[in-house]
């Protein structure tokens, strides 16, 4: 069993966490999602990082602006349904020309079993793009490190809003987020 465990490939959240650390991201605001479980555990366990549990996702746009104003790099992690809660609030970092990096685990696509997720899941990308957020979809686990890195660099270096959209194909491939 030990040998089998050792042979298990790294989870995609390992890649994201490594890229977060490399960019000195100190704060992760979240309404959790099943697909984010492993990443959020890593953030919580890291002594240099802080997990901020929100009551609704749009609060994250305020927290990242406050962090930016105070010189700290922060991001928001949420399920795709939370994107709908953020639309007006996404104008806030944009108006300050503050970076807003989002990690979104998708629902409502790639084999979704819950019909209540379909509408928002289908609207995530057009809704984000309508309010000026650059979207970086990830369809395969081996794409996530470079995609997250590119989105994060663009967000922090060019001071824009960027969303990494992690497909259910990725989450499901590792058995997370699916019942």
């Amino acid at each position: 069993m030990a040998a089998k465990a050792a042979a298990t490939p790294a989870h995609w959240s390992d890649d994201v966490f490594r890229e977060m650390k490399a960019r000195d991201i100190k704060t992760v605001c979240t309404i959790p999602d099943g697909g984010l479980t492993q990443l959020l555990k890593k953030v919580e366990a890291d002594r240099e990082m802080r997990l901020v549990t929100l009551s609704t996702e749009e609060e994250g746009m305020g927290v990242v602006v406050g962090q930016w104003a105070g010189g700290v790099r922060a991001m928001v992690a949420m399920q795709s349904s939370g994107v709908g809660n953020c639309i007006n609030a996404l104008g806030f970092p944009a108006a300050y020309r503050a970076p807003c990096l989002m990690l979104v685990t998708m629902r409502g696509q790639w084999g979704e079993f819950n019909p209540w997720q379909i509408q928002m899941g289908s609207a995530v990308r057009p809704a984000l793009e309508a309010v000026g957020v650059r979207c970086f979809p990830v369809e395969k686990p081996d794409e996530i490190a470079e995609t997250f890195a590119a989105a994060a660099d663009m967000a922090f270096n060019s001071s824009i809003s960027a969303a990494v959209l992690v497909s259910q194909r990725v989450i499901g491939a590792k058995g997370f987020g699916q019942k």
Binding site: T27, R50, V52, T53, L54, S55, T56, E58, E59, G60, M61, G62, V63, V64, V65, G66, Q67, W68, A69, G70, G71, V72, A74, N88, A89, G91, F92, A95, Y96, R97, A98
Partner: protein, 203 residues
């Protein structure tokens, strides 16, 4: 049987927002102030423009989350969120986030005229049954203060700028006709000036 919503009664609030805020800001010291959109932004600007004022012209509901993010990033500085009752109600859940993070350097002052005064003085939710101090305590913010008299200003200033946070105070302000006092509205300019004042960007 359910009761009808409480009718808006003519407010008995006495505090005059502009002199009240101006008096409080005399005690601000090196404190950073984040405003909610609308009148609190005009009030802070009227009290005296400073580079460490983080004004906002939008993002209703985000004043407290923004001040929280700033307080976490700058634990050595006092941070005040100055906002209105409608803005606070829209972001009311953020009081739970504040309580959970428990920043000792964060205070919130709600200028409560029980009215959406910017949009035509429609009645708000805090005039009859909603008690924001009780709500804040319910969320776990232990230190609250209700202010109804100008004579409480000194005690309020001590609470907002010196006492261990997080703190929420509600000031019952009158409806008033105040001259427009509009600060810079380019968010990038507001943010850049603010960060320069903290030494985070070069002038």
């Amino acid at each position: 049987m359910s009761k009808a919503p409480a009718k808006s009664a003519p407010t008995s609030n006495k505090l005059q927002r502009r002199p009240f805020v101006a008096e409080l800001m005399k005690h601000r010291g090196s404190g950073l102030v984040v405003t909610g959109l609308g009148s609190p932004t005009w009030d802070l600007f009227a009290a005296g423009d400073r580079p460490d004022n983080l004004y906002s012209w939008g993002g209703m509901g985000l004043a407290v989350p923004t001040a929280l993010g700033l307080a976490m990033a700058q634990p050595g500085r006092r941070v005040l969120a100055l906002t209105g009752d409608g803005e606070m109600m829209m972001g009311i859940g953020s009081l739970g986030v504040v309580a959970d993070q428990a920043p000792a350097n964060l205070a919130i002052l709600v200028l409560d005229n029980e009215t959406f005064s910017e949009t035509g003085r429609q009645r708000g939710l805090t005039g009859s049954r909603v008690d924001l101090c009780a709500v804040a305590r319910g969320f776990g913010i232990r230190e609250t203060m209700l202010v109804t008299e100008a004579s409480q200003s000194s005690e309020l200033a001590d609470l907002l700028f010196k006492a261990p946070g997080p703190i929420l105070a509600v000031a019952k302000i009158a409806l008033s006709e105040d001259p427009w006092r509009l600060p810079e509205k380019d968010g990038a300019a507001i943010g850049r000036r603010f960060k320069i004042s903290l030494g985070l960007e070069k002038p």
